[in-house]
Amino acid sequence: MNKQKVIFGGTVIIAVSLVAALLVALVLLAIGASPLATYKTILTGPLSDLFGVTEVLVRSVPLLLVGLGIAISFRSGILNIGAEGQIQMGVLAATATALALPHLSKGFLLPLVLLAGALGGAIWGGIAGWLRARLQVNEILSTVMLNYIAAQIHTFLLRGPMLDPNELETGSGTPQSMRLPDASFLDQIVPGTRLHTGLILALVAALLVWVLLWKTTLGYRMRAAGAGAKAARYAGIPVERYLIIAMLLAGGFAGLAGAVEVTGVHHRAIEGISSGYGFAGIVVALFGMLHPGGIIPSSVFFGILLIGADMTQRSARVPANMVLVLQGVIILAIVSGQSFLRNPYAQERLMRWLAGLAPWLFKSKKGVQP
């Protein structure tokens, strides 16, 4: 059964990708770009040299972390759209912590800074979770609003209280914070590139999320609350509490992503630091079937897409907003495809068809059992 599910899920994902690619090709044709050439640049361009590969991984680290958090929240039945704002709060909390404690040794400071980032995001996510659990405020609307609010707080702090004094002296006035103390930096993995140890951190986090969701009582209860709140309540699970916990965790992962971006890549808080990772993370999580095992490859794939889109903007003059189009189409295609995933008849029909196509897939089983 499990093997069937994986095959079926994989088939749907492939079909979804093809549909999305076709739809976006129409848009590319409309703006006079060659779809094939554009896709080729997007998919192969970033992987043509070592630097490109490391840049892809640099992008996939925050995507993976955000995607994990979103997977937790979606699995628990709460739709967290607020990762963008949670990242920014994480960035602010991590930056403030690092700047406030410049003399600590690395062994203390770095974990503290990452923790502060996670806490900042968790608080921001927790607000939406609490509003939903206690006041039944629709979490999609509240997280969207919290995104706009976080963006304004971010801008306010970077232009005011947290502005680098040097910027005032030189008069350039770029809204950014002071450079963080060296002790708060994540180390580079490949010298000369921007790839940092945040990658390892994110992979460990993926493992932890898998353990949490599938091997602990807490995770079981969160998934139960998401799969059927009514049934879970009958079984004695305080659903509201798990909604809040899920949002705290989701926000925490987004905030951690922000802290990792600060300590690993930019080494200071800058404007536009979240650069759409919060929204891309939703697509990453959905594309990875809300499972850490799927989200890891999915985050790398979207890392390629983001870098590739930058390259097409330069070479083929396809605006980088195209990524948003692609993400939107993929989301629509995935949620449409899920209705087939949930439909046992569609699954049965597809498995029959596949079995006729490739009998070796099912050699271990006698016939097809839907």
Binding site: I81, L141, L146, I149, F279, P319, G328, V335, S336
Partner: protein, 316 residues
């Protein structure tokens, strides 16, 4: 400045602010009354804003130039309706999760409008747009004339849409069907109402209105287009529907409350009251959250099957 002049200024400014969210929220009301929660409203507004700007801009030197603005509005509504139908395909026919699909539609509309704009136009360019049209005689009434009758033609349309959508929802067979499929689709189905077809129609209408709301922003208010023109107004419109308890009059009240708050915030800056700009911008969004938290009891008044896909083959 005397207080009555201040109030006058705030109110005069509030009406133009309310138009876009009012039209979009009235449209979203049809969606939600039919049981579909369309979060993609924001993305549809982006597309409407783009098309509304683009048609007059592209026709500037063509023979059709005098009709550019009208074509822009019609085009925006057509594109909005098309996006509404796309959303219907995903959520009604494929029965996808409406919340996530809405975010997908929002990204699609936002990204597509930005992509097309950068490709076909590029930088900041203005259009003549639709000018303010004071209603003869009525606009001369002291105080009220300036507040109510000295606006863009679309503002009058928006306010007329309030009674119009009330009439459509409560006094026509179609409105009854819409409310039925949003409240108890199975009963409606049993009575021979096409649930899916009605939802498609409601989504097309809501999409067209969201497109019109977007076109108001680009063609009447800003007289230009940019990526961040809509700035989450679509989400505010969705929240207004909750706040207005799914009634056109309530939505009008909510829209006015928001726009008065917004114009008050702008006026404060004009009056020179020191207040960090970022916090002022934040105000409407904070207000949405507070309003949603306070409006929770209203939920029982709303369409009970909101957000639930209908599957006539499903038992139980």
């Amino acid at each position: 400045m005397s207080p009555d002049v201040m109030i006058y200024n705030v109110l005069c400014l509030a009406v133009p602010f309310s138009v876009a969210i009012l039209i979009a929220a009235l449209g979203e009301n049809f969606n939600q009354r039919a049981g579909v929660f369309n979060l993609g409203c924001d993305g549809i507004m982006c597309m409407g804003a783009y098309v509304g700007f683009m048609l007059p801009y592209a026709l500037k030197s063509a023979a059709l130039a005098p009709y550019g603005n009208v074509l822009g509005l019609v085009g925006a509504m057509a594109v909005g309706a098309a996006f509404g139908l796309l959303f219907a395909l995903v959520t009604v026919t494929f029965r996808a999760s409406q919340g996530i699909a809405g975010i997908g539609l929002q990204m699609l509309g936002w990204g597509l409008s930005g992509t097309l704009f950068r490709h076909f136009v590029g930088g900041v360019t203005g259009v003549e747009g639709i000018q303010v049209w004071p209603i003869p005689y009525l606009s001369k009434i002291p105080f009220l004339g300036g507040v109510l009758f000295n606006h863009n033609p679309l503002a009058y349309v928006a306010f007329l849409l309030v009674p119009a959508s009330w009439f459509l929802l409560y006094k026509t067979p179609w409105g009854l069907k819409v409310r039925a499929v949003g409240t108890h689709p199975r009963a409606a189905d049993t009575m021979g109402i096409h649930v899916d077809r009605t939802r498609y129609q409601a989504l097309a209408l809501g999409g067209a209105m969201a497109g019109l709301a977007g076109a108001y922003l680009s063609l009447c208010q800003a007289k230009m287009f940019s990526d961040d023109l809509v700035a989450g107004r679509g989400f505010i419109a969705v929240a207004l529907v909750y706040f207005g308890r799914w009634s056109p009059l309530g939505i009008l009240g909510g829209a006015m409350l928001f726009s008065i708050a917004q114009s008050f915030q702008l006026s404060m800056q004009v009056w020179g009251i020191k207040f960090p700009y970022e916090f002022a911008v934040m105000l409407p969004y904070v207000l949405v959250i507070i309003v949603l938290a306070l409006a929770r009891k209203a939920r029982q008044l709303g369409p009970t099957d909101l957000g639930k896909p209908y599957n006539r083959e499903m038992r139980f």
